[in-house]
């Protein structure tokens, strides 16, 4: 019985993942970083990493999950949590609906339980295709529910950040999600449980200034933009051009804010290894 459900779940994730793993272009795709063309098939098989320069294309949430979870272990948490319009902001509903149509997601976050290398965990993923992965009340709520679920069930937690920052149309309620998610992580941490934060391109604004920066372990994909203020704002403030590589993953590691830069092809093994190293977590 369980086996049938697991197979069904594996198929469902695979289907959603295929839809997510779409990079525009016909047989050939051109890399926005090095400009070189590669076979679409080679890019897709290589986890959407450019075979020529190692550029990491953004990943859809379900596809991301399919690249790290053991087959058949995926079980989505709160899939029906709706997007909201708490300030009745003009034009926002339409914007949400068109993002939903474009991505097949209800909001910018997908959370799930699953296993990596046979070890159960809770994983949350932000999807930058949905309004830049910005922090809405629904995103904050979903992340908080996932943290609370992990706390209650004494499971390790992995969150993949990808966010342009605040959801403007939700104003102050977007801001408050920073306090909400951070407070939930404080409670989670009290239980002696492991939280791994993975920063992907881009991780900025309110997400950086909350859950993304609070991991026991912080990993980053190569070349990701990571910061609180965006480069354009900084440039305007200081009136100078920014140095090469500023706010990228490698820069953040040099400045002490990232434990390791991990290429996507090694992410699953790295996570499995970290879960194994923390096996005895969870104070009684």
């Amino acid at each position: 019985m369980n086996d049938i459900f697991a197979k069904r779940r594996a198929r469902l994730l695979a289907m959603k993942a295929i839809r997510d793993n779409y990079i525009p272009g016909d047989k050939l795709v051109s890399c926005p970083h090095c400009g070189q063309e590669s076979e679409r098939k080679a890019v897709a098989e290589g986890l959407s990493v450019c075979p020529k320069c190692g550029y990491h294309w953004p990943l859809g949430a379900y596809y991301r999950l399919s690249t790290i979870l053991d087959p058949g272990s995926f079980r989505e948490l709160h899939p029906r949590l709706p997007a909201g319009d708490p300030l009745s902001f003009p034009g926002y509903r339409t914007k949400l609906e068109s993002s939903q149509r474009k991505t097949g997601l209800t909001e910018a976050a997908v959370t799930a339980t699953g296993a990596i290398g046979g070890r159960r965990c809770v994983v949350g993923v932000l999807d930058s295709r949905f309004l830049m992965g910005s922090m809405s009340a629904a995103v904050g709520e979903k992340i908080t529910l996932a943290i609370e679920f992990a706390t209650k069930n004494k499971l390790p937690l992995i969150l993949f950040a990808a966010s342009g920052g605040a959801r403007m149309q939700e104003g102050i309620l977007s801001l408050m999600q920073m306090a909400k998610t951070s407070a939930a992580l404080a409670r989670f941490s009290e239980k002696g449980l492991l939280y791994i934060s993975v920063l992907t391109d881009p991780t900025t604004g309110g997400v950086t200034a909350s859950f993304a920066s609070l991991g026991d372990i912080i990993l980053a994909e190569p070349g990701a933009l990571i910061g609180f203020a965006g480069p354009r704002v900084i440039q305007q403030t200081i009136g100078e051009t920014l140095p090469e590589g500023f706010q990228r993953s490698e820069f953040q590691m040099e400045h002490g804010f990232v434990d390791a830069v991990v290429p996507r092809t090694e992410m699953r093994d790295t996570l499995a290894r970290l879960l194994r190293l923390h096996e005895k977590g969870g104070r009684q």
């Binding site: 939700e170 309620l173 801001l175 909400k180 950086t208 400045h255 804010f257």
Partner: protein, 272 residues
């Protein structure tokens, strides 16, 4: 309460003669001892903090500092903290907990400083750490938004058991100018942004983001500072008295629930 537009309130909130952290410390507290430095690498004048007596009782006071003259403005970076400011604030809050002192924060900032070095030293991490640790403090925390409270830079001092706002203060995700720039690529539409952003005290009280509004003299606190300061004193002492009867554990639990509810969807029954 007067019928001011949101944009008018923004102008009052930014008035250079509006009472600021130094005025609050002088009027409401005695024997203030300023504590400098984050004990990691620096001192940030944009955040002022220390220990003082409040009606004879030791408390920790922390606030953002903008200054009133240009020289003062420059000395404290126009009230835009660097990571050291937030880390100093956290150091003082931990100390307040150690010595079982209540904490008052006074917030008036256009935001965390978006500078190159602020980024190098982890502006995002500093703010995140404050949010996380403030949620766990076992002493009463009362945050007062006195002028402008913008972005994570304001929230980093704002995780309180009580969040109070002066009548004409504003609290928002960023400045109306920034909002209009991001949303419409047109900073000149900031007045329109003011109306949509729900940044006034009455709006925020309705949304459950703040707990109380402190009345101001007609036309704004800068027109009759002494009256405004007295109103703030009255409000914070009343709220402190309420919190005094709570144990540390119940303060933490109630603070968690307070922020937990913000933007929460209707409860959903699902068994994963």
């Amino acid at each position: 309460m007067s019928e001011l537009t949101a944009a008018q309130r923004v102008a009052i909130a930014r008035h250079p003669q509006r009472p600021n952290i130094t005025d609050y410390i002088d009027a409401l507290f005695t024997d203030f001892f300023e504590q400098k430095g984050d004990r990691l690498c620096g001192e940030d004048g944009a955040v002022l903090g220390g220990v003082a007596l409040y009606h004879g009782r030791p408390v920790t006071v922390i606030g953002t500092r903008k200054g009133k003259t240009l020289e003062e403005n420059l000395n404290c970076n126009f009230g835009m903290p660097n990571p050291e400011g937030y880390r100093k604030a956290l150091r003082l809050m931990r100390q307040a907990e150690k010595f079982r002192r209540p904490i008052f924060t006074f917030i008036d900032t256009s935001g965390a400083y978006p500078g190159l070095e602020a980024e190098e030293r982890g502006q995002g991490e500093a703010i995140a750490r404050n949010l996380m640790e403030m949620s766990q403090l076992t002493v009463p925390v009362i945050a007062v938004i006195t002028g402008e409270g913008n972005s994570g830079g304001a929230l980093a001092l704002g995780v309180g058991d009580r969040v109070l706002m002066l009548e004409n203060a504003v609290y928002a995700i960023l400045s109306p100018e920034g909002f209009a720039t991001i949303l419409w690529k047109d900073a000149s539409r900031h007045e329109e942004a003011c109306d949509l952003m729900k940044l006034t005290a009455p709006d925020l009280l309705r949304l459950g983001v703040i707990d109380d509004i402190i009345p101001e003299p007609e036309g704004g606190a800068h027109l009759a500072p002494a009256i405004a300061l007295r109103q703030v004193d009255r409000a914070i002492s009343r709220h402190l008295a309420e919190l005094d009867s709570e144990s540390g554990k119940s303060l933490v639990a109630a603070r968690y629930q307070k922020f937990r509810k913000m933007g929460a969807a209707a409860p959903e029954k699902e068994n994963p």
